[in-house]
Amino acid sequence: MIRFAPIFPVLALLGFLSLPSQALASDDAAGGDYQKAVAGLASDNRQTIIESLDAIARLGDPRALPALDALQDRRLKYDAKGRALIVAKDERAAVDAVTGENYAGPLDALSDPPVNNLVRQHISAVLSSLALRSPDPEQRLAAARELADRPVESAREGLGKALAAETDGRVKSLLEQTLAQIDLKSPDKAARLAAIRAIGRSGNSDFLPALRQVADRQNKSDPLNADGEITEAATRAIASLERRDLVVRAARDLFFGASLGSVLLLAALGLAITFGLMGVINMAHGEMLMIGAYVAYVVQEFFSSHFPNYADWYLPAAIPLAFATAAVVGMLLERTIIRHLYGRPLETLLATWGISLCLIQTVRLIFGAQNVEVRNPAWLSGGFEVVRGLTLTYNRIGIIVFVVFVVVLTWLLLNRTPLGLSIRAVTQARSTASAMGIFTSKVDMWTFGLGSGIAGLGGVALTQVGNVGPELGQSYIVDSFMVVVLGGVGKLAGTIFGALGLGFINKFLEPFSGAVLGKIIVLVLVVVFIQKRPQGIFALKGRTAD
């Protein structure tokens, strides 16, 4: 409807406003209120702060924005005289929040107002109601989203006006939803009916409990509950929301299952090579994951000390390094210890378990027993809401993409390179391959290195979902073996199916059985399956199967 030139942002803001025009005209009275409200933000009393925030929300004065921002970032402080001061971001200077004058006193003598979650709740409500008047539709959208999540009844009037003035469709529908949430309890029949319909259209199943209350004929406290039209509309809205909810839940479990499956697959893929193809019962596999994770940590530290501007991009650099480091460690182990134990599964098991303990202790000596901090880069934090009730988180999406990349890479390596050909030849028919002139012991080394390297890649990915500590590998080793055995030893495709299958089953069971029982059921299912089909999902065919 109205387009504002950027030169008049303040006017534009005020144009949107529910702000009463006399607030501008009689600057004295409003100014007094405003000053009192801003000064009250830096108080030692939580109640005063909240009252001041509400006052600012009523005034709708964008001049309060810097003070509000400062309060949220813990930069709003007060001095011995109770003056509210905004401390600059670099913590070198401060200005008076009301007058804007520079503050000369020492900064470390200032006190913090007692901000807690309750205060922050009010801050975000005020900030978004102010942002709703911004000329930038993106800012308005963000604000509307915020308000839709936390509707405040006192904002009813302002919201109505903002909705009337709104031009952006997305913002409009969000505002309608917010209004509907408030109007659902309205004593006015028409308003409530409209609210019920709007909620039915919104497809947001979060409203189900509130709608059920409205549809409840037994509830005598509210006279409108007896109204046939209202209950009918509510029942219809509930039915439509429930149908939608079912679909959303299925989609949600599908995504969660895929992401859990991907984590399992990343953890197990390296083992599918060292144990699956080579037959080494590799108890040190978990430690290869751990090495990969620590490489990610070291690279992150290196980036934040040397290239702080690119600190968020440490992950791409960590990927090849983790592969290389884990592969080298794996090849060293193979050359020095494991190759002497081929064909002796029991000794291999003990030896690799010993190696795993040594590796854990080594890492503990170098990095300490404490977990280390691997940050999610900004581009892997958060998520986006596809529809209400289904949030896809970026770190999980990242892992799904990464696992596809690793699987493709492994497949190409095994099926499209000369090394892959030798690996397949040696693992399938060692003596024949040897007779054909393949240097089998060298191929063993490369294979073990490849498996370890892929485990290292898995380790990098695991840093994005869990802890990084010396014991990281221990928590994945059982799951890894389960995936490989379930999928069928010796088959890459089996490992993929095994991991994804376990992921889906786990996630579809969890809503019904809970996590603890779910895990037990999955284990029982795996045991039964292996009993019935010891060779796993995908069996090797022919003479190699024995």
Binding site: P114, N116, N117, L118, P209, S381, S475, A515
Partner: protein, 431 residues
């Protein structure tokens, strides 16, 4: 005959002389004190600091002249996060090393495993970690919090207007004894406050669980409609995946606050604190407490870390169980001075009623009856620097309830080691 008598006398004299010499040698000897904390295995992360703190406290006592004119000699053993090994090491400390007292244990299962040993050999254990209660041994002094000194005040805060006025609660924990018992108590407490079962969601995860997608999305759904808070008894390593998932799915502390009972300064060291900011923890002590005693305590600790070149260096922090360890060592030393001996029975009598000006700034008193400390409850919000902003605290120290009045069976029990009860779990006085 005539000759033999002086001979016997002579032998006797020699014997007496050697005995008294030996006695003197003993007198010049040290007082041995056992430290029973895992220095390897999964619990090493938490327990190593307690060992360091106990050693610091012993250093401090030795530097100021020791106890009863003797130096204290710490005997450090490593039960390696292995519960049966805890019992073995405890036995070794009491029978072989003959220590006067043991400071140790973290998990409830390790405490339960050493309990029979201490009771059989009449040893003395100071246990420094918050726990689920429902226990009161003659041979243990509990310097950590009982549920009414941590969990219940935290829930009261969440229900208060200041804490957000939560009406709905998610009880989320790792599947073992501490979360199960705590949640049983909390559920009964919530019932007593008029919260329906429909407004309580109780969920457990296996140890080491790292996939919180479904749970977080369920919590989000459950929270629609009413103010909701999560009470987390998630153990150790599972916390990071949980908070990460929470943040990634867009849940903010101001919408659904999570209060945790086992996330402290030490646990926040070494994790990305961003997703945790604003969430709550309930303890009896925070490193950020602004008291002169705490400043002195932290300065002592940092000096000790520097002097002994402990791993972690300047990044080392203090936390609640460390404060409880410190109070335990100091109280034991006070009791030994008062009793004039390290004899377990005498010291036990003397520990009851001891008072100590703790780093939290309060005069912490050992209850005269139930072997637990009176402690203040403090609630803090996580800051991005791994410290806590204190948002609420009790007016003063609270007496511990070893047996929860919210569990019907234990409500009948009394822990009172004075006459006429002389019992840790009786329904009637013994005498």
């Amino acid at each position: 005959m005539k000759k033999t008598l002086p001979l016997i006398a002579r032998i006797l004299a020699v014997l007496i002389a050697t005995l008294s010499l030996a006695g003197q040698a003993l007198a010049q000897d040290t007082i041995k004190v056992g430290i029973l904390h895992s220095l390897s295995g999964t619990m090493a992360i938490s327990e190593t600091s307690l060992k360091d703190m106990a050693l610091m406290a012993i250093d401090e006592i030795n530097a100021s002249g020791g106890l009863l004119g003797k130096k204290i000699e710490p005997v450090v053993v490593d039960p390696a996060s292995n519960w049966p090994l805890f019992a073995e090491k405890a036995r070794e400390l009491l029978t072989k090393q003959k220590v006067a007292v043991v400071f140790g244990c973290w998990t409830s299962v390790s405490r339960k495993s050493v309990l029979p040993v201490f009771e059989e050999l009449n040893g003395l254990l100071f246990y420094p970690v918050q726990y689920e209660g429902e226990e009161c041994s003659y041979n243990v002094f509990y310097t950590g919090a009982a549920p009414n000194q941590q969990a219940i005040p935290a829930v009261e805060y969440l229900m208060s207007a200041d804490g957000g006025g939560a009406k709905r609660f998610v009880l989320l924990g790792t599947d073992y004894v501490y979360p199960r018992t705590t949640n049983k108590i909390l559920r009964a407490f919530l019932h007593s406050k008029g919260v329906d079962d429909a407004d309580i969601m109780e969920t457990y995860t296996p140890f080491g669980h790292s996939d919180y997608q479904t749970i977080v999305s369920d919590v989000k759904k459950f929270a629609a409609g009413k103010r909701t808070a999560v009470i987390s008894t998630i153990n150790g390593d599972s916390n990071v995946p949980f908070y990460k998932e929470l943040a990634n799915q867009g849940i903010k502390a101001q919408d659904i606050p999570v209060v945790a009972f086992s996330v402290g300064e030490e646990e926040l060291r070494g994790i990305d604190t961003k997703p945790l900011v604003g969430h709550l923890a309930a303890w009896n002590y925070f490193m950020s407490m602004n008291t002169p005693e705490n400043k002195a305590f932290i300065a002592k600790w940092q000096a000790y870390v520097k002097k002994n070149n402990l791993p972690g260096g300047a990044a080392r922090v203090t936390n609640d169980p460390m404060e409880a360890t410190y109070i335990g060592v100091m109280m034991w030393a006070q009791a030994v001075r008062q009793a004039g001996t390290t004899n377990v029975d005498a010291v036990r009598q003397a520990v009851a009623g001891q008072s100590f000006k703790a780093p939290s700034g309060y005069d912490i008193v050992m209850d005269t009856k139930n072997h637990h400390l009176h402690k203040p409850v403090v609630i803090g919000e996580v800051r991005d620097n791994g410290q806590f902003d204190i948002v609420w605290k009790t007016a003063g120290p609270i007496r511990a309830e070893a047996w929860s009045p919210y569990i019907p069976d234990s409500a009948k029990k009394t822990a009172d080691w004075t006459y006429p009860w002389v019992c840790g779990n009786c329904e009637k006085a013994k005498y």
